[in-house]
Structure formats: C-alpha cells, structure tokens
Amino acid sequence: MAKRDIPEINAGSMADIAFLLLIFFLVTTTMDKDQAYIRNIPKKIDIPLDQAKVQERDILSIRANNQNQLMVRGQIFSDPSKISEFVLKFYRTNEKINTIENNFPMYSTTTLALCDQSMSNLDSQIEEAETVGNQKLTEFFLASYEEWNKKKNAIKLYGKSEIRELSVQAHVRIEVQESTAYSIFTQIQNEIEEAIFELRDDECMRLFNENYGILKKRNAQDSDPNDKAKLNLLEILYPARIIEITPKN
C-alpha cells in the first residue's frame, strides 16, 4: 500500500472563531465596578427600653427637606460640600481641649487596667448567666466581653497604656423627608464618609505611615490579621456612628 500523507487541517477560520468569542465577551461583560456605601440597619426592638437621654452636644443632625434644602445643627447650608468640614469639627473640637462649653461631644480616657477590670467582671457575669440558663443574657455579656477585648488589643497596638475615646453617645443623624431627592441623601452620606476618611487617614499616616485607602483595599483583597487590627484601632479612635431617621408621613 502506498503511504499517504495526512492532509493538513486548514486553520484559517480559527481567527474568525476567536473573534466571535471575543466580541461575545466584549458585549456581555462590563468593566465598571459596583461602588457603594455599606450601612447597617439597627435591629428591631420589641420592648422599648428606657434609655438615658442623649445630650444635645452628642448629636450632629443633618436634615434635608422636601425642597432639598439642607440644615446642619440648625444652620442652613447652601453648599452641601461644606458639610464634611462641619463633621470634622464635630469630631476634632474636643480632642485636645475637652470642655463642656463648646457643645461638641467630649472625649474620655480608656486605660488598659479598665479593660482588664471590665473583662474580669464580665467573666463572672457570664458564669452567673450560664448557671441560671439565660441564653439571651449570656449572649449579651459575651458580645460586650468581645468588645472590651477588641479595645484592649487596640490599646496595645496604639503603643500607650491608654486611649482617647469619643463619647459613646456621639453620633451623626440624617433626617430626610418623604420626597427629598435620593441624590441629596447620598450626598450627605458622601460628606460624612469623606470626613471620617480624612480623620482615619491622618491617624493612619501618623501611626503606621501608610494610606488608609490602601490599607482598606489590601484588607479587602487578602485579609491579614495585622491589617485587621490596624483597621480596628482606627475604627475605635474615630467611630462612624450614623443614624438614618425614617421620615414621617
């Protein structure tokens, strides 16, 4: 039998096929990312608790009405991009001087000893709750134990035996009305975020000599416990407590 050559396969149309696939992917995919502000909704409370009245100096209310006009702490703001400055002032005013007169939230000092003491107190309380068998109470104590532990680790990372903490009740509150435009609402969120970013960025630069944005980005990609501890410290130093009030009809 004569030896036959295997005929070569014509690969000329390969490029066409690849182009077809390429164009398909170009059309069905997108390169832009989803960007957003992440927020938490507070848990629903079945039984209203008697809460201590929040001091006026601890509230920073930002309000927007149906005509999209803004008011920050009773002052009318015509330029929304000035809000972040005011939020900065809210956080920074009492950081150094700490007087009651200027109507801004006070700072207090948390020491390592206080953390240890609260943790040992909670330890015995957890045991007590467990023997009684109160599930909810045990969970509550465990959660606050965790919080103190976090604080303790943060102080250790801070490198001193104490830390300056903003009043626990200090918060920013957003009050909008039914038909306030959504863009105004997000702009307020933007301004608050901008201010908190600046506070944390400055501190991050001072403590760790690096950019807060870069730290955050790196933590999202590969969660390294060191980065997490750094972010935790920054969050304790400058907590973002934002309350969104449901508009009344």
Binding site: A15, Q35, I38, S179, Q187, N190, I214
Partner: protein
C-alpha cells in the same frame, strides 16, 4: 530600452496569518479575566448619583453575598403613573406591579428570603450579613428607600448598601 526587469505584480509573498488566532485568543482571555458579567438590563431606568470614598463591592459579588434591587422610572413612561410617586421597584427583573401593593404585601421581604434560601451551600454568611444593594435613581424620593429599608428590618436582613457611581479615587 529597459534595463530593469519589470516587477512581477500581484504575486508577492502572502502574509502569514498563522499567529492571528493566538493574538485574538490572548485578547479574549484578557477580557474574560478582567471583566465581570453584566447584570440583566433592569426593567426600570436608573441613573445613579455620584459619590466618593465608596466601598468596592466586587469581593462580595464574587462570594454572591449580595442582592441587587432597582428603584427607578419604568422604561415605558405611560406606565409611570401606575406606581407610587412614579417610581417602580424591580426585583430580579420583575416590576412590582401594584402601586401600593409593594408596601402592603411585603414583596421585598419575601424576595430577600427566597434569594437567601437559594444561595449555594458553600456560602455561610448569615442573613443579616448578606448585603442588599440599593440601586436607586438620583431623583427618586428617599421616602421610598426607607419603605424598603423597613421591610428589610422586619426580616432582620440588616446590611444594606447605597450604590453610587464613584467619581473619585484614592
């Protein structure tokens, strides 16, 4: 008298296109890796507001720990008056039809719980940590957002995100 030989036109050497598929495949793989699949065109029109200092949702998207809901004007303008304040809510491309039914029948809550039960078993985030992302038109009334928020609070899906178009960078 011609000293030069006339050039033979038309039968020059052909360009070798054997590597063309390789180049195109390379491009193809680049786009496959660098892009994410587009979401279905929502049935409502949404023009996002702008903002800075946002959080990137891509890691959550990759872990499918996020659900999107759209609130905007219906694509057919004649239908707009059928909805509360002219804005319609679209959940997985289904426009919630009745004007006040959306708020009365707890559509958002049911949708969210449905989505949660269909998540793959490898996903172990609890319901309260699964993000609900609001894609809301820039001129939509904020009251509607709070109506939806209330329904999410009722079923304890407590993490939400307000989507904006990022106009800044780090």
């Amino acid at each position: 008298m011609s000293k030069f030989k006339k050039e033979d036109r038309g039968s020059g050497p052909g360009i070798n296109t054997a590597s063309l598929p390789d180049i195109v495949f390379m491009l193809l793989f680049f786009f496959m890796v660098a892009t994410t699949s587009k979401e279905n065109d929502p049935t409502v029109q949404v023009e996002s507001p702008e903002g800075t200092r946002t959080t990137d949702l891509t890691p959550f998207k990759q872990r499918s720990e996020i659900d999107f809901l759209y609130l905007g004007t219906p694509r057919n303008p004649n239908r707009a008056k059928a909805f509360k304040m002219g804005y319609a809510l679209s959940l997985d491309n289904v426009v919630q039809s009745t004007s006040d039914g959306l708020y009365a029948t707890n559509a958002v809550g049911r949708w969210k719980l449905d989505k949660f039960s269909q998540k793959p078993s490898r996903m172990n985030a609890p319901l309260e940590a699964v993000i609900t992302c609001f894609k809301v038109d820039r001129s939509a009334p904020t009251g509607l957002v709070f109506d939806i928020r209330k329904q999410l609070q009722d079923i304890e899906a407590l993490t939400i995100a307000y989507a904006v178009r990022d106009k800044g960078n780090i």
